[in-house]
Amino acid sequence: QLTGTLQKIKDSGAITVGHRESSVPFSYLDANQKPIGYAMDLCAKVVDAIKAELKLPSLQVNYQPVTSQNRIPLMQNGTIDLECGSTTNSVARQQQVGFSVAYFVTSVRLAVRKDSGVKDIGDLDGKPVVTTTGTTSDQLIKMNEKGKTIDVRNIYGKDHADSFLMVESGRAAAFVMDDILLAGLIASSKNPAGFDIVGPSLRDEPYAVMMRKDDAPFKALVDKTLTGLMKSGEAEKLYTKWFMNPIPPRNVNLNFPMSAAVKAAFQHPTDKGVE
């Protein structure tokens, strides 16, 4: 007897996958406005597994763009069944939604202009530091402000492109954000050689597939699929495809080798959220 999301998918004969539109290289639009990316590839495997499980080879797959603001409500009200983007699995969010095992782990670090002379957190004292509104990274500035005795001036960009522009144009000394996003921004910029990612990891954050809360059978299927991909080495192949090679639409290469944290996540898959 099916329950929850699986039941819903079976009844409607369709699944709706939520995706981001500009989270390079996880989930974004290619030149033809089709959603592609590392997370999308993983989710395609999950969808295959669902087809097999429900014996619905002709299952219809709908794609629904989501934003960082609306992804959780849309999951809750049934608009989307699966979200494949770059969503951090956090304890606070677990109050509202469920998460699969992590398929990527990012570290929060600093992007700076090479000519700015900033090499570490300590160099930021008294300088403006930008982060993006509505993302989790800014909590870290606040925590570090308290912990260390450096005093930075917090400024906020509307989105990652804005924040990066603040660094590029000299408004901010550094941009605090997930390192993989920083790498993507630098690679896309006009002068990739002009920027560096510096400093220690302020915190590690696991990215995971989001689904509805308390839906054990569905979660089990998603986790089993993802874990299988990690164990079989297929996940690593996908990693290489998206992080170490030129990717559409502009054939930029992120050159972002697998970190120790990601390796650990692949070896010991976990759905533990950050505080």
């Binding site: 406005q33 934003t67 006009k190 639409p249």
Partner: protein, 226 residues
């Protein structure tokens, strides 16, 4: 930043054009629907049936006091729930469709205020003349008051439509891809914000400027008829 790189525009013009088409579609839908509903609201508000009048007053004041971007988001989240209650099963309608509905409902509040002042600007004598010829209330409105109110207010209605056209950009809040949303998404992915925003400003300016010239032309033509 002297090295502008407009290749990003050229590479993505199809996406931008698609967004512009969507923007125009929502604008036209919300304009037509909004004026229709707005006229009904204005009539309710000026009529003598107290519950309807209060409904119209409440409707207009609520929607005029709340930021549009929040209304867009709230409708997007709540509408599927309402539909679910009616149909009994989850009915996702999607960001793009939800915007048609939201803008129509929201703009109706603004159009209704315009139509109300339009109706009020018609001299009482015109209504008396309609009645004196034997017209019923409905006929007086239909043949005498509304055509004139609509004509007199056409410039103001169009000006509101220009604002509406610009406000469609707020659908980025629910991730729908209008003109601004398309530009924003390309910016996030390809990272050429200055070039992109400059282009966007120019395109909006050209379209709105042409529209506002049209309004001016209409204004002088209406002045002649009057």
């Amino acid at each position: 930043m002297s090295d502008f790189d407009f290749s990003v525009i050229a590479a993505n013009w199809a996406f931008l054009a698609e967004g512009l088409r969507y923007t125009l579609q929502v604008t036209v839908t919300a304009m037509v629907g909004g004026i229709l509903i707005g006229t009904l609201l204005a009539l309710m508000r000026l009529g003598s049936i107290t519950p309807l009048r209060w409904f119209a007053i409440g409707y207009v004041n609520v929607f005029r006091s709340v930021p549009l971007v929040q209304v867009i988001l709230a409708f997007y989240l709540i509408l599927p729930l309402v539909l679910q209650m009616i149909t009994g099963k989850p009915t996702p309608i999607g960001a793009a469709n939800s915007a048609y509905f939201t803008f129509t409902i929201f703009e109706a509040a603004y159009y209704s205020e315009i139509m109300r002042s339009g109706i009020q600007s018609i001299p009482k004598g015109q209504i008396a003349a309609g009645y004196a010829l034997g017209f019923t209330y409905g006929q007086t409105m239909r043949h005498v008051v509304l055509p004139q109110a609509f004509r007199n207010m056409l410039p103001v209605l169009l000006t509101q439509t220009i604002i509406l056209f610009q406000d469609i950009s707020l659908v980025y809040a629910i991730g729908a891809t209008d003109f601004f949303g398309a530009a924003d998404k390309i910016t996030q992915r390809d990272l050429r914000p200055v070039e992109m925003y400059t282009t966007v400003a120019v395109v909006y300016f050209i379209i709105c400027f042409l529209l506002s010239r049209l309004v001016k032309r209409l204004q002088t033509r209406i002045a002649i008829i009057r």
